[in-house]
């Protein structure tokens, strides 16, 4: 098997929508000889870029699934994971970052650092991923890589240092000056496949010298030898500079900035050189696992092929031949025929087929070593599971999973769709922990929830195309609650004594609001007025009453029920009688207890350029929000507000158009609050109407 781990690169390409990431990846695959023709991403010649293996992606021009691909550049093995840039697919990006060692952050030379770049950057920092920045689209009108580099410093807090300069810009982009080698690089041939090295054009010489000084100043911090050489004004060999850049990048204190245009075939090969030179190999990064035998003590994975296998399943795909599981090995080796154990479930599995993935094609292999990314067939597991061999019982730390923020009600149009829909939902929830579903048995609606409207829209589309399941999409349901605001007494007799065996029970007591908690039952019965054996029946009856409130059918919460009086009949009292008496008593007291409807209030934070904040605050205000405050960063502002969930649907579209797509928002559940009178009246009216129909 191989291979020098030092020559392995597991990288991700991460960025904002439309920064040209997929085109870039496609060019990389071309130059590394994996595919034989370059196709435009949007399919002008009828064939889409190889990486976008799904129809949907080709249509929308966006990438949905993360696809892993293997390629090789100048003797280095490079595994590339293409990750989506839209905020709704955060889980894909997070998962990819968990298994990668380094990343390329792609930016548009015109649009620069945009809201999604900020999120992605934050994720990369959270997982301590060293990165190179690639300022793409330098052939576009308005391209300004220098401004973008400055934005990297200002908005993303990166120590961004340009290691290249453009020769010409916009339609005049001809080549790139490599500041490390101090040479001009041109990309000849139809597809830019032939690299020509030349002297730096005279008119750019001064600029190049100046920028090189800046570069050396910045990186000398990471190399004593370089610092000395500079002070002594000695010749500085290329390798010394590269070493310094590598050290800075790996320590996360430096971000080398490169430029180019994937579309115009300029700069891609140099980027690949930089991936080899500056991004980490598996042994450069420390990864830890949890030892399940030792109470989850942290252990460092060794990357040693001799040690027991430790591998993380980070992506699942259900295809024609069964489930395909993508794994990253951190230790040991994995071979066909080996037996591995899922440390979450304890189940054993035998490795059948082992493949190396290329976007849509597979290459069968016999085995793989530490630091590799491969895929297994026929292994049943969930995303995030750890596999071990040779007696080890470790688990890679659990991945950070953001909570879903939006839900939609869906209803299959016919029986066939119903069956297919269940199959589809089953698969989707297994692959994606941020996508959740449950069935509301009363309305027979299925509720799906996820990270955003686009997230859910895509699943609904996929259900239709891949599973032939057509669904009607309803307005999202808000989980209302009911509660009481004052104490109320009740005294209820349940009597059915019309001959033969009857029922009798009387329960007296009061309801009062419960500050903390959902429900509390207090038994203050003295003198046996209600026999001991029926006390729990009363409790049962009250709890049944809490399930559905009288105002709008929503569950009741925050009530303490105390019973202190009652009567029974020697023959006719029973469990049922007291349950019914309690239900009656509850209803009686409830209407007198000032019942109100409550709605979920979300803590919403909208982040975007300061110039749009006025409009943003207005939009939140219009949606019954209370603006709590603003946080001023300088170039951007964060507005924090408390918003009723019921008013948040469709907000991402509103926000996008208000801010030219430059702002984004996060939403998390805060608390339940009483709804305003007008809203309550509408809800009650709707509920009454619903009851009449039923």
């Amino acid at each position: 098997m191989k291979k020098d781990l030092k020559k392995v690169r597991n990288i991700g390409i991460s960025a904002h929508i439309d920064s040209g990431k997929t085109t870039l990846t496609e060019r990389i695959l071309f130059y590394t000889q994996r595919i034989h023709a370059i196709h435009e991403v949007r399919g002008k010649d009828g064939v889409g870029a190889t990486m976008d293996s799904m129809e949907l992606e080709k249509e929308r021009g966006i990438t949905i699934q993360s696809a892993a691909t293997y390629c090789s550049w100048k003797d280095y093995d490079v595994n590339i994971i293409d990750t989506p840039g839209h905020v709704d697919f955060t889980i894909e990006v997070e998962r990819a970052l968990r298994v990668l060692d380094g990343a390329v952050l792609v930016l548009c030379s015109v649009g620069g650092v945009q809201s999604q770049s900020i999120t992605v950057n934050r994720q990369m920092t959270r997982y301590k991923v060293p990165r190179i920045a690639f300022i793409n689209k330098c052939d576009r009108t308005g391209a300004n890589p220098f401004r973008v580099a400055q934005q990297l410093r200002d908005k993303l807090d990166q120590n961004a240092v340009m290691i290249q300069l453009p020769i010409g810009l916009e339609s005049d982009l001809e080549g790139i000056i490599d500041l490390v080698r101090m040479k001009a690089v041109y990309f000849d041939g139809d597809q830019g496949e032939t690299i020509r090295i030349d002297e730096i054009p005279a008119q750019l010489r001064d600029d190049a010298e100046a920028k090189r000084e800046e570069l050396l100043d910045a990186v000398s911090m990471f190399s004593d030898e370089l610092m000395e050489a500079m002070l002594e004004e000695a010749e500085i060999p290329e390798t010394m500079i590269q070493d310094a850049i590598r050290r800075g990048t790996l320590s996360l204190e430096l971000t080398p900035v490169m430029i180019g245009s994937a579309y115009k075939n300029k700069g891609v090969q140099l980027l690949l050189d930089a991936v080899n030179a500056y991004l980490p190999c598996p042994t450069d990064v420390e990864n830890t696992a949890l030892d399940l035998e030792k109470d989850e003590a942290e252990v460092v994975v060794s990357n040693n092929p001799e040690d027991p296998l430790v591998a993380l399943a980070f992506k699942l795909e259900d295809g024609r031949y069964g489930q395909l599981t993508y794994i990253r090995t951190y230790q040991g080796v994995i071979q066909k025929g080996d037996t591995i154990v899922n440390s979450r479930t304890g189940k054993k599995a035998k490795i059948g087929r082992l493949v190396r993935m290329h976007a849509n094609e597979m290459e069968e292999i016999d085995g793989a070593g530490s630091g590799d990314i491969v895929a297994l067939f026929g292994i049943d597991c969930a995303s995030g599971d750890t596999f071990c061999g040779g007696g080890a019982n470790w688990s890679m730390s659990s991945m950070h999973v953001p909570a879903p923020v939006i839900s939609l009600a869906i209803k299959p149009v016919d029986n066939k769709s119903q069956i297919n829909m269940s199959k589809a939902l089953n698969r989707f929830t297994k692959e994606d922990p941020t996508f959740k579903t449950f069935v509301d048995h009363e309305t027979s609606e299925t509720i799906i929830s996820g990270m955003g409207e686009l997230h859910l829209e895509v699943y609904i589309e996929r259900m239709k195309r891949e599973y032939n399941a057509e669904v009607e999409v309803g307005a999202p349901q808000v989980a209302y609650r009911e509660t009481i605001t004052q104490r109320a007494d009740f005294n209820y007799i349940h009597k059915k004594q019309t001959g033969g065996s009857g029922q009798f029970g009387r329960v007296g007591g009061f309801l009062e609001p419960l500050e903390e908690g959902e429900y509390e039952f207090v038994d203050d019965i003295v003198g046996g007025v209600i026999p001991r054996e029926y006390i729990s029946s009363c409790d049962k009856g009250f709890q049944k009453s809490m399930v559905k409130g009288t105002l709008t059918g929503a569950p009741i919460t925050g009530v303490r029920v105390t019973i202190n009086d009652g009567s029974f009949h020697a023959v006719d009292s029973s469990d049922i009688a007291f349950q019914l008496a309690s239900i009656g008593g509850f209803k009686q007291g409830y209407s007198k207890a000032g019942p109100v409807i409550m709605e979920p209030i979300m803590k919403v934070a909208v982040e975007g350029p300061s110039e749009f904040q006025g409009g943003v605050m207005g939009s939140l205000n219009q949606r019954r929000g209370v603006i709590v405050g603003t946080f001023e960063e300088g170039s951007y502002t964060v507005v924090e507000a408390e918003m009723p969930l019921a008013e948040m649907f469709g907000y991402s579209t509103t926000l996008r158009s208000l801010t030219q797509g430059k702002a984004e928002f996060t939403m998390e559940f805060a608390t339940y609050k009483q709804v305003p009178k007008s809203v309550a009246e509408e809800l009650i009216k709707a509920f009454e109407a619903q009851k009449k129909e039923a």
Binding site: Q613, V628, T630
Partner: protein, 231 residues
């Protein structure tokens, strides 16, 4: 609205805050002596009188500032019986907006921009501005006059906090310590917080409404709660 008793019992009433709209106030003390606590109580007093407050916190987070208000409000609720505490808490939330700035990001123009955003969008018309954490060491007279002009044009009262340093003993002729010793004339009310032997913190009111005040008025901060008390 039912909060008059709270207003009338508030020890701060002796300062007559809020009687005149255009007023610049200053609270000075060494670090940790209760400037933020006092400003929040001044703000709450204004809110109970029906005013709307913008609380600018420089170098602090929205969450932290919110917690200040929450804690002090709880203490007020404990001391005075209020029939519907949730309503009061809600009312306060609707009358107060927090703006936080990173130190380098606070300038008059940014402040004006943010304030205008609110007013133009008809979201919030503030009567009172609190600025906690303004760096008086790094500022000049002009910058402060600028802000004063802004607040006067918007008909807002403004209250600032300033940190004194133990080793800077410069003092203005009227008794205002550095770093505000050269700009004290811009303020109508100046309160110094001084630690006393009995571990309470005295509110030394150097000036109120432009008039020099002799001897203070016996207001203290209870160090365990940081609440203003009459002695």
């Amino acid at each position: 609205m039912g909060y008059e008793p709270l207003v009338q019992q508030n020890p701060l009433r002796v300062l007559n805050i809020g009687k005149e709209n255009n007023q610049m106030g200053l609270v000075m003390a060494r670090a940790g002596l209760g400037k933020t606590a006092l400003l929040v109580q001044i703000a709450l007093d204004a809110i109970l009188r029906g005013k709307r407050v913008i609380h600018v916190s420089i170098g602090e987070s929205i969450e932290k500032t919110k917690t200040w208000y929450g804690d002090i409000l709880q203490l007020i609720l404990q001391e005075h019986s209020v029939t519907r505490p949730h309503e009061l808490i809600d009312m306060v939330a609707r009358h107060r907006m927090i703006m936080t700035f990173k130190v380098a990001a606070f300038t008059r123009s940014r402040l004006e921009e943010r304030l205008n955003d609110l007013v133009l969008q008809d979201i919030f018309r503030p009567n009172c501005l609190i600025v906690d954490g303004f760096d008086f060491d790094a500022t000049d007279r002009e910058a402060l006059e600028d802000i004063k002009n802004l607040t006067e044009s918007m008909n807002m009262q403004a209250w600032f906090s300033a940190i004194c340093h133990r080793d800077d003993t410069r003092v203005s002729p009227t008794g205002v310590p550095a770093p505000c010793h050269e700009i004290d004339d811009l303020f109508d009310t100046i309160i110094l917080l001084k630690p006393e032997r009995d571990a309470t913190i005295q509110l030394d009111i150097i000036r109120n409404y432009g008039a020099q005040v002799e001897g203070g008025k016996g207001l203290r901060l209870d160090p365990t709660t940081m609440m203003v008390k009459e002695m």
